[in-house]
């Protein structure tokens, strides 16, 4: 919402400075987001009077002028304008000025041998108009040396406020003035409501089909108008706030839209068919050529004003081209109505029309001010365009808006946190237009017709507070619930930052990537259609991600394109599989990838490309940090399809899959465009069981006083036997004594039969009550070999 300072002063009698006004506006909730004074750009330009103008010695079309730019100040300027003549007052630019039209800095220069100490300017050069036939011609009484801005009436700062959607009343300058007056910045000037006495009876009949869509409709004819350009004051006002003046009839409606928040519409009466206007729902398929030059196909439910031939305008949004006013218009029909805010908003949204009328109607107009609006607009049209007005045809009625709110002034302290004397509260509410009756300790408050947003006690607290000033509310510490605060997160929530820090400690960089990805990529990871956005911002951000792997592979691809091929990235965040009663299936997963080389070239050894065991190691470290005993995990070598079928697995705790790890399937890398090796892992944080330990005490630590011993076993086993199975068999041979079994060698080749492999395991044996005898050790070894043979068919390597 924009207005100028002088426009504001039409409604507000104030001696406050612009700064005070701006600060107050922001303080009371009408946030000032811009103040621009067009005169400021013109500061360098002063009035110059041409004293003499003589022909340039070396050029036919140039003159050398002596220009008076101050009491005793004369400068010599070379000028090519045909209208440069002695006695002319015009705009003078001194050297160093920036010419608005070109943006260039004016320099002292010699023109054909004569030095020019400045420039005389045209309207166009100062960006004040299109005229470039000659230099500006200023009034004869202009004073040389004075700035031209004020002379041209341009010294009127334009104020822009950021209007919140609840304040329909301040979409008009008068509403802004009223708020400022209530805030003590002057007095609201009275508005006289003088109806225009009709010169003749009869106008178009009006039928409202649905009074909920249009509660009230006023119409009148004005005969014999003469449309033309608006007077300068009106054109200047509209120009200042960024509107193009069109013609007096159109400009008057725009003026009241901004002045009183009272949009009106003016039809060319000659172009209305029949003798009746009907306010009705559009019929689906009806077409309106709107005033913005665009054609709209309407749907049922949109409120239109129609004549016997069809739709003339979209109620509360925009008029139609066919019934629009032109320079030839002589009889007009003025419409001043109320339209339902909700329907106006829906229609505007559906048709994507933003208009100043819609902006106001969808916020809700003052229902009490319809007659006033009609009178004021008629009066101005008669003044500017002449003619005579008919009586007003009224359809519908002013909707009920009066209400009483029981308001306890004590609520300003108990809700607002600051005590304001009831008398002061009453004064504020009264100044805002409320009726206030004292009923014991309470007020009975009647909000004014223009404040539909005031619905209850809390709204009135805000009204008092914002006028009193939020800065008066003292900072009050929030009372402590306990002397020492308790943790803000529970055990499950705490895992998220832990997981992040664990992974970062392993050299992975945390990424935060979009929750949505390209639908084509999502399909490769098994998404469902229900996870595709109905209105994605672009095709590559169209579908809720079923995995973070794809995002990270994309990120690695971007990094590779920048020359950073070896990436170690992770993200802990949401994925969505579309399951569950609400159809979201959101879960929090930790996901990481490593690409390129795990170890680069180095003098200590060869470069090592990333391999699936890097990813397995990441996943196990994470699970272990979350309290899962890695020894209890099993690997199921049937990974999801986006992994390499032979180089990946699921990490399971009993039947529950906690995560995945392995080499990413080359088809996925091809689809995303990543070259080189890529391994990854996922851990579903929600699936990882919470440790069941109660309290903070650790279980008792029992330490053997006997030294453990180790023995190595080299087994030969079929190549298809998973190593994990053999290790498990070895460990299970005597759970009391065998405390660890580590696989330290894997061998195939000469000495081992084809189809077989050698696995060497170091077993740690812990004596409990006495040191082992040779017989003890032999007995355990025999059990180990037997268990391995039984579970895996392994034999000791000979």
């Amino acid at each position: 919402m924009k207005f100028t300072l002088n426009w504001l002063k039409d409604h507000l009698d104030t001696s406050a400075s612009l700064d005070e006004i701006a600060l107050t506006l922001t303080r009371i909730g009408l946030e000032v987001i811009g103040i621009e004074n067009p005169a400021e750009a013109l500061t360098p330009f002063v009035i110059g009077e041409i004293i003499t103008a003589e022909k340039h010695p070396n050029a036919d079309k140039l003159q050398v002028c002596q220009v008076k730019i101050g009491k005793d100040q004369l400068v010599e300027v070379v000028c090519g304008a045909p209208n440069a003549r002695p006695g002319l007052k015009t705009a003078f630019a001194a050297p160093g000025s920036v010419i608005p039209a070109s943006g260039e800095v004016l320099k002292i220069g010699a023109i054909r041998g004569v030095t020019s100490n400045g420039m005389l300017c045209s309207t166009r050069e100062l960006k004040l108009g299109e005229d470039h036939e000659g230099i500006m011609e200023l009034p004869a009484d202009a004073i040389p040396g004075a700035p031209i801005g004020p002379l041209l009436g341009l010294d009127d700062p334009v104020i822009e406020i950021n209007l919140t959607p609840n304040r329909a009343d301040c979409a008009g300058v008068r509403g802004v003035a009223r708020d400022l007056a209530a805030a003590g910045l002057g007095a609201l000037k009275p508005l006289s409501f003088e109806p225009v006495s009709p010169a003749f009876g009869g106008s178009l009949k009006v039928v409202i089909e649905d009074q909920t869509a249009c509660p009230l409709f006023l119409g009148r004819t004005v005969r014999g108008v003469k449309n033309g350009p608006s007077p300068k004051w009106l054109a200047d006002r509209l120009t200042a706030i960024g509107l193009n003046p069109r013609s007096a009839l159109v400009d008057v409606t725009n003026y009241f839209t901004f002045d009183r928040c009272r949009p009106l519409h003016v039809f060319d009466a000659a172009k209305v068919h029949g003798d009746t206007l009907t306010v009705r729902s559009a019929r689906t398929g009806e077409v309106l050529e709107a005033l913005n030059g665009k054609s709209y196909t309407l749907e049922a439910g949109m409120t239109v004003i129609a004549d016997s031939e069809g739709v003339d305008s979209l109620g509360g949004i925009m008029g139609g081209m066919a019934s629009g006013c032109t320079a030839e218009t002589s009889d007009i029909y003025i419409e001043c109505a109320l339209f339902d805010p909700r329907r106006t908003a829906e229609t505007g949204r559906a048709l994507q029309i933003s208009s100043d009328a819609r902006y106001r109607f969808e916020r809700g107009l003052d229902p009490q001010a319809v007659f006033e609006g009609m009178a004021a607009a008629t009066r101005m049209i008669l003044e500017l365009c002449g003619g005579e007005a008919s009586e007003i045809v009224v359809a519908g009625a002013v909707p009920e808006w009066k209400r009483t709110i029981a308001f306890r002034p004590s609520r300003v302290a108990s809700l607002g946190g600051v005590g304001v004397p009831p008398e002061r509260q009453r004064a504020i509410l009264t100044a805002l237009g409320c009726g206030v009756a004292i009923e014991g300790a309470s007020f009975a408050v009647n909000p004014p017709s223009w404040r539909a947003d005031i619905e209850g006690e809390a709204d009135l607290v805000e009204e008092v507070l914002r006028i009193e000033g939020y800065d008066r509310i003292p900072e009050t510490p929030l009372p402590r619930l306990r002397a020492i605060a308790r943790p803000a997160v529970d055990a499950a929530q705490r895992r998220v930052p832990w997981a992040k820090r664990l992974l970062a400690s392993r050299g992975l960089n945390e990424a935060v990537t979009w929750s949505f990805i390209d639908g084509k990529i999502a399909k490769l990871f098994g998404t469902t259609d229900s996870m595709t956005l109905l209105n994605p911002i672009s095709a590559d951000l169209s579908t809720m991600r079923p995995t973070i792997l794809a995002n990270l592979i994309q990120a690695a691809t971007r990094n590779a394109a920048r020359g950073y091929v070896d990436a170690a990235l992770f993200e802990v965040g949401p994925i969505f599989n579309g399951s569950g009663p609400e159809g979201a299936g959101q879960s929090t997963v930790a996901t990481g990838i490593r690409t390129g080389f795990a170890k680069g070239r180095h003098w200590t050894g060869k470069a090592k490309p990333v391999d699936p065991f890097d990813a397995k190691s990441d996943a196990l470290a994470l699970l272990s940090s979350l309290g899962v005993d890695p020894a209890k995990l099993t690997v199921d070598a049937n990974p999801p399809s986006w992994f390499h079928p032979g180089q990946a697995g699921l990490l399971k705790l009993g039947p529950i899959a906690l995560g995945t790890f392995g080499t990413i399937h080359p088809d996925i890398l091809d689809a995303i465009g990543l070259d080189g090796a890529c391994v990854g892992f996922t851990v579903d944080l929600g699936a990882v069981p919470m440790p069941r330990r109660k309290g903070t005490a650790r279980p008792a630590l029992s330490l053997s006083q006997f030294q453990p011993i180790t023995r190595d076993f080299a087994f030969v086993v079929a190549e298809t036997v998973p190593a994990e199975k053999l290790i498990r068999a070895v460990k299970g041979a005597d759970k009391a004594i065998i405390v660890d079994a580590r696989l330290f060698d894997l061998y195939t080749g000469p000495g081992v039969e084809a189809g077989m492999k050698s696995l060497a395991i170091e077993v740690t044996l812990q004596p409990a009550e006495r040191t082992f005898t040779d017989a003890d050790i032999e007995a355990v070894a025999a059990r180990i070999v037997a268990a391995a043979a039984k579970d895996t068919g392994a034999t000791l390597r000979g």
Partner: protein, 359 residues
């Protein structure tokens, strides 16, 4: 006799001193005091001597033996030291060679900032609440006093998903406020929560991304008023930005879910095109807040005649950008390794009020 022994001693000591290495020294030892060594032989011969001569010779021999043994021990020490030195000298390497590089990981500024926020609000007795990012239209809008036709819905550029199986309209939450709704529906006052998380709006330009993070705050009890809101936010912002005199300005504003509503500005300076936070006279908008609207309380099953409280919401990227001098919002989501290394945090930088929020 004694002259002969003196000579023997001198010869042995000479031999010990001349032993070039440990094995040569051992050879000398064997020859001197071994089973068949010269001194041993002399000792053995004592038995065949007269008593007086034996005493004198015995004493002399014991002295010589002690001298020899001491000399051997000393020589042994010297030779072992030299051998160790020689071995160490041979083991010299170029220690200026580079050690093997280790990949260094980093924590994203968003995570770090959320942990900082959590630390500060934990101190004020808040707990962390969470909610789903795919929300119902009711939780995201209706329960927050934003009916379908409300102009405020246009303030949110909402992403929509196909309706759930039961026909419920589904949206990507446009703010973290639905967590307020869920918390109030599922618990009884007093309530003191923050809800950090991802939010989504269909907007993508220099200063907007279709996904971003917010933190929501909600306090509901019987007495909390707007003064507490000011106090709480002032404490938070000063602790977070680590500026003890950071000024705050509350401006009246409008949100459908709060009444009264306020926007909060913090003090700053924009001199020379450089944004600097502090008490410098200029203002920067930082968050929106207000007293929870009675209609929202009622919609969430809380008696608005008895309970009241405040809510606030702020952009996490925004405050992270301000605190850490990150110039461009869009870079947060690009996963550029150079950016992550530059703006990221060590895993050891766990925010803590007791140990300092930020290193």
């Amino acid at each position: 006799m004694s002259n002969g022994l003196e000579t023997l001693r001198d010869r042995l000591l000479q031999a010990i001193a001349g032993a070039a290495d440990l094995s040569a020294l051992d050879q000398v030892r064997v020859e001197a005091i071994g089973k068949k060594g010269e001194l041993t032989q002399q000792m053995k011969m004592l038995g065949s001597m007269e008593a007086d001569a034996r005493r004198a010779a015995g004493q002399l021999l014991n002295v010589i033996k002690t001298d020899v043994e001491t000399a051997i021990a000393e020589r042994q020490g010297a030779l072992a030291g030299a051998a160790r030195s020689a071995k160490l000298a041979a083991e010299r390497i170029d220690v200026t060679l580079p050690a093997a590089p280790e990949g260094e990981g980093h924590i994203h500024p968003i995570s770090q900032t959320i942990e900082e926020i959590t630390q500060i609000f934990a101190e004020m007795g808040f707990t962390v609440a969470e909610g789903p990012e795919i929300e119902t239209d009711f939780n995201n809008f209706t329960a927050l006093n934003i009916p379908p036709e409300h102009p405020a819905r246009q303030m949110h550029d909402t992403f929509y998903l196909p309706p759930a199986a039961d026909g419920t309209a589904r949206v990507l939450r446009t703010h973290t406020s639905p967590v307020q709704v869920r918390t109030m529906l599922n618990s009884k006052p007093p309530i003191r929560i923050i809800a950090p998380g991802r939010t989504y709006r269909s907007d993508y330009d220099m200063t907007h991304t279709p996904m971003f993070h917010q933190v929501e705050g909600l306090v509901i009890d019987e007495t909390t008023h707007m003064g507490h809101l000011r106090g709480c936010l002032t404490e938070f912002l000063r602790a977070f930005f680590q500026i003890d005199d950071l000024p705050l300005r509350f401006r009246p504003s409008f949100f459908p879910f709060t009444e009264p509503s306020a926007e909060v500005d913090i003090g700053c300076s924009r001199k020379g095109g450089q944004l600097k936070l502090g008490n410098y006279g200029d203002w920067l908008e930082i968050l929106g807040c207000g007293m929870v609207h009675p209609k929202v309380l009622e919609m969430c099953g809380i008696d608005s005649t008895r309970y009241q409280g405040f809510a606030f919401g702020m952009g996490i990227e925004r405050i992270a950008m301000l605190k850490y001098g990150i110039p461009d919002l869009r870079t947060f989501f690009d996963a550029d390794l150079r950016w992550l290394r530059h703006y990221g945090f060590s895993f050891l930088d766990q925010p803590s009020l007791g140990l300092g929020l930020t290193r």
